[in-house]
Amino acid sequence: MEAYLDNSATTKCNPKATELMVELLTKDYGNPSSLHRKGVAAENYVNDAKKKIAKTLKVQEKEIYFTSGGTESNNLAIIGYAQANCRAGKHVITSSIEHASVANPFGWLADHGYEVTYLPVNEFGEISVEDLRNAIRPDTILVSLMQVNNEIGAIEPIGEAGKVIKAVNPNTAFHVDAIQSYGKLLISPKKMNVDLLSVSGHKIHGPKGSGFLYIKDKTKIKPILFGGGQQKGMRSGTENVPAIAGLGVAAEEIYTDFEKKQEHLYELRGHFIEEVLKIDGVSVNGRQDKNAAPHIVSVSVEGVRAEVMLHTLEDRQIYVSAGSACSSNKPSVSRTLKAIGLKENLLDATVRFSFSVETTMEEVDYALSVMKEVIPKLQKYTRY
């Protein structure tokens, strides 16, 4: 049996999306900027995808800008907004557990004359809205928070944060990194007072190299790529029509029968947590109830290094991540795990299981049975 439980790293592409993409690579392969009919056809696919996506967020179509994925969306939102609004102030706020594609743009801002405030998190990886309220100043131009943490699945209080930001300083923009939450939670940027929202395609069964940034109408942003002026000059470069169309299909699909899908994920997660905790030396990081993301479980196994756990499971066709996949080719201590105060000896003994709507209970049970078998054996050989 195979169990791919690394869906927060990436997912399998939706077959309908794949099929459409092949067609767009081989038949309707026009450039949306071309004046002839092949160009128009391509443009229609882009507009159609925009419409589908706008519907999932209940926003306007013109507020959707396609990018190459989550990293670009985050960069455009943070760097683009900060540069366009630097005269209003140079203070920005983010949390201490952001993904590298948010943390590093903030590092860049810090190097370029901006002042960055990093909000701490509690043991569950959640920021406090009070801390946020106290951090906002008259010269605060931007707050950026992730909605779901990619390593432990913590849900940040985005709705309350939005209210507080607009109440304290209505000129402060609010960016949300929704890369791990889109398709897993219901998101309404308007109700949540969100001005900018980043999404990646391949985390929701869309193609890699696809993503978008929601930019609330009238939000001032400077582009970070310059060229032919596509997408109203916000993101130059020929639109990746196949990826955009694939993303549109995947987005529509993931929000169809959404409650059922979410319930399925919570069921898998609840069962997995309950069973895995029965194994000696195993603990689960973050909240175990429904106040955390439905698809991520961070598991620490005392005395078993994450890499060893990962390769042992891999040997049985079970695929997981060590800490966070995005940093796995550079073994470094996870900022998130440190920030929630995880014990020193568990920092490199933590693996992440992440489910998708396609994950079955059988796969989860299979993973559990293998873990019950191998963990006691692995714990026998501890290292120094």
């Binding site: 890499e307 060893v308 756990m309 990962l310 390769h311 042992t312 891999e314 040997d315 550079k330 073994p331 050989y381 290292r383 120094y384």
Partner: protein, 396 residues
């Protein structure tokens, strides 16, 4: 511009009656290296010389780079080969060569002429003097300096006339395949690929043994070793790589022996297994990347204890080298970037905080007695399940 290269080799010339064996190896090695370069090449031996001649278009830089990887070549001289059509034609060719080969001409030079064919109407001195004059006339910014010239223009009167002045250093060493075969203990580190390269440079063909320990080491660590072998194979030719699963042996030692002796005992078993494959494949020695005192397992005492399990000679070309010098070679042969990829290798998984640095053979052997029950079986299984991968240089 050049349609031929003159290949110079040094040590081979003194090999007496065996000289032709070395030369023939070198010729065939040059041929197989040049197969990686686009173009058609003829390699021929003539009176203690090797010429590489090109037919039609070829990439000069690629050809030189490839020739620079061939062990046994001391110098590569792009050469102009012409028929003897009188001195006037020779002078023209020389002027033309200088014009093309040097962008700026304000250098000092001398002309060095040799006549292998003594029936040429002028003496060597006359030719040099006359050509020197012609060059000064054609390029007034040049100056003659017969003691320390910046450029030496070589004229050799052989059946054909050879004109060359550019001399590109080669690898040196001995032609591959002229010595024998040895088994390299290849880890993912910086040292062992360098050690393999250095021994191979003396004409030695390589096989390699790598120990992995899944699930403690990953597929990427194994891929890294294959990639390193590929880089070494660019010089040493195809490498037969034995990949040994060492996990069970390692865990058994961990269970039964004092943990501070783990590494040293482990290394003894590695040497034993590598030697098994070495003997099976007629290797004449083992190669390791050890260097005195670099780590606990490479103190003189440790080396003596690991060496004790082998009957074949163990070649340790890095034994007296400093790390930085090893790194310099690793960078030169392009293994460094791969070596520093951060995948764990099996030597570091269970390494003790304070491993023994001065092991005593008697104590180590006593500890090894705890292993008698199962170790032979485990070693046999490791040997039986070893995977063989043939690794060759990457074609660019």
């Amino acid at each position: 511009m050049y349609s031929a290269f003159l290949i110079k080799y040094a040590e081979i010339a003194i090999k007496g009656k065996n000289r032709y064996i070395f030369e023939d190896k070198l010729v065939s090695n040059i041929i197989s290296h040049l197969k990686r370069v686009e173009g058609s090449f003829q390699v021929r031996k003539e009176n203690g010389r090797i010429y590489v001649e090109t037919e039609g278009d070829y990439d000069y830089d690629e050809t030189v780079t490839e020739l620079q990887k061939v062990f046994g070549i001391v110098e590569i001289c792009p050469v102009i080969l012409t028929e003897d059509e009188g001195f006037e034609k020779l002078a023209q060719d020389v002027i033309c060569h200088i014009n093309e080969a040097y962008e700026t001409k304000n250098f000092t030079f001398k002309v060095d002429t040799r006549r292998a064919r003594k029936n040429y109407p002028m003496s060597s001195m006359e030719i040099s003097a006359e050509l020197g004059g012609r060059i000064l006339e054609a390029f007034p910014e040049t100056r003659v300096d017969v003691h320390h010239p910046q450029v030496t223009i070589h004229i050799e009167i052989r059946p054909q006339i050879n004109i060359y002045s550019v001399r590109i250093p080669g690898q040196g060493g001995m032609p591959l395949g002229s010595a024998g075969k040895a088994m390299l203990l290849l880890s993912g580190g910086i040292d062992s690929p360098v050690a393999g390269y250095m021994i191979s440079k003396r004409g030695v063909n390589l096989e390699a043994t790598y120990f992995h320990a899944p699930p403690y080491t990953s597929d990427r660590a194994k891929q890294k070793v294959v990639d390193l072998a590929k880089k070494v194979a660019a010089y040493s030719g195809k490498i037969k790589l034995h990949v040994v699963n060492f996990t069970d042996i390692q865990l058994y030692i961990y269970e039964k022996c004092p943990h501070d002796e783990l590494t040293i005992i482990m290394r003894r078993y590695m040497m034993m297994i590598a030697e098994h494959f070495a003997k099976e494949d007629d290797c004449l020695g083992l190669i390791t990347g050890e260097s005195i005192g670099q780590v606990a397992s490479q103190t003189m005492q440790s080396l003596a204890v690991t060496n004790e399990v082998c009957t074949l000679p163990v070649y340790r070309p890095l034994i007296a080298m400093d790390k930085q010098d090893i790194v310099t070679i690793a960078e030169k042969i392009d293994t460094y970037e791969t070596s520093i990829l951060p995948y764990e290798d099996c030597c570091t998984i269970f390494v003790a905080k304070h491993p023994v640095t001065k092991p005593n053979l008697a104590y180590i052997k006593k500890s090894e007695q705890n292993l008698t029950e199962k170790i032979h079986e485990l070693v046999q299984t490791a040997i039986d399940t070893t995977e063989v991968i043939w690794v060759d240089a990457e074609q660019d």
